[in-house]
Symmetry: C2
Subunit: 226 residues, 2 copies
């Protein structure tokens, strides 16, 4: 029975990866760099995007917004006057807790890829399943808020491993918390040694320049349009 | 295809409910009141338990601790000198993102039910899937931290509906946040009108008495031991 279960899972991930490659080809054809942005609920992904995407001089950005229900974040980001497409996962099994390659694929016809240099896919707030599904992105970025505590890399190791950048958010609150940054770094290095990390406050804007520069650099690494 | 998928889901939840009823019978036989405690990662479930369970005079409490990986929280709660059993979900599909009735069932032989009045099942930190699986509990309690923002009921409606009590945690940080409690209440009443809510700070202890009294009252409602 155990062997059968493993096989089914492998097939599901194989199918996901096949579709992720098709997404990747579409993104490459248009020279769009794609970020899969992940975090726990309320870690500040949307506010981070409000800050970072407002100042991306010359880079044409768009957002694919994943939520179980509602379009609250998409409405907020629309104020930036950039293309924002909402993807709701609520039609699945009581609400899917992550985006997968096929959900992203279903949104591609709604995305103006020819007019974009950067697409940020804001995943469903969840530290478990989003890490398991590639969607055709160039880079996976996770946001960890200091209010969540320094033990999170230990408790959600796959998420902290399955990313190319960790953004530590809400550092404006550090003086009011017991959060120990050295312990966080120690736990993070335990599961993902040396992964790049940036300390930011999406609320005050501290550290946002570094995030913006990283996003701009990613677009210059992505292929030129065909 | 769509019909087939719905059928599979219904069967999976039916199986879960069948096992949840078996758990319920075991809990009833021993007169144990059971709470399913749910929240996003880092909302403060463990610190809340450290506070609330330390002062439960006369009520014999135990904890079943659900995590993808590690035993960090179980180690913390063991300091209360109460029975704590760790359940790791990491053996599943890259780590199961929730507890279900069968996982809880597998832990029952390790739990000293005959010596307990109250069992708190600390679910995996996640605002989506834990809400879909009953585990045989008397009550579902969710913790929502004010650092997560006031929009969470809109974005994770099933979770805020599938509980009998909402504990709003980290209120000691309110003065440092933009969190609007009226908006939170408005959104919460939109998805779950009139659900009881308590404002607490597990860090300072504010409001913990009310949580403790609620837990004690739950044990007196649970059946007497056979």
């Amino acid at each position: 029975m155990h062997r059968t279960k493993v096989k089914v899972v492998a097939d599901a991930l194989d199918a996901n990866n096949t579709i992720a490659r098709a997404n990747r080809e579409d993104f490459d054809r248009h020279g769009v760099a794609v970020v899969n942005l992940m975090s726990a609920p309320g870690a500040g992904k949307t506010r981070l995007l409000e800050r970072a995407l407002a100042s991306l001089d010359g880079v044409r950005a768009g957002v694919l917004e994943g939520d179980v229900a509602g379009s609250f974040d998409a409405d907020r980001l629309s104020l930036l006057h950039i293309p924002v497409v909402q993807l709701n996962t609520g039609a699945g099994f009581g609400g899917e807790c992550h985006l997968d390659a096929n959900m992203v694929r279903s949104a591609i016809p709604s995305l103006p890829l020819a007019d974009l240099d950067l697409l940020v896919i804001e995943n469903v707030g969840n530290l478990v399943c989003p890490a398991e599904f590639r969607v055709g992105e160039d880079a996976r970025v996770m946001v960890s808020s200091v209010t969540e505590g320094e033990d999170k890399p230990l408790k959600y190791p796959l998420m902290f491993r399955a990313c190319e950048l960790v953004i530590v958010n809400k550092i404006d609150l550090l003086e009011h918390l017991d959060f120990d940054m050295e312990k966080f770094d120690y736990h993070l290095d335990g599961v993902h040694p040396g992964v790049p990390r940036m300390l930011v406050s999406a609320r005050t804007g501290e550290g946002i320049d570094e995030v913006r520069d990283w996003l701009v650099a990613l677009t210059t690494r992505a292929g030129a349009p065909a």
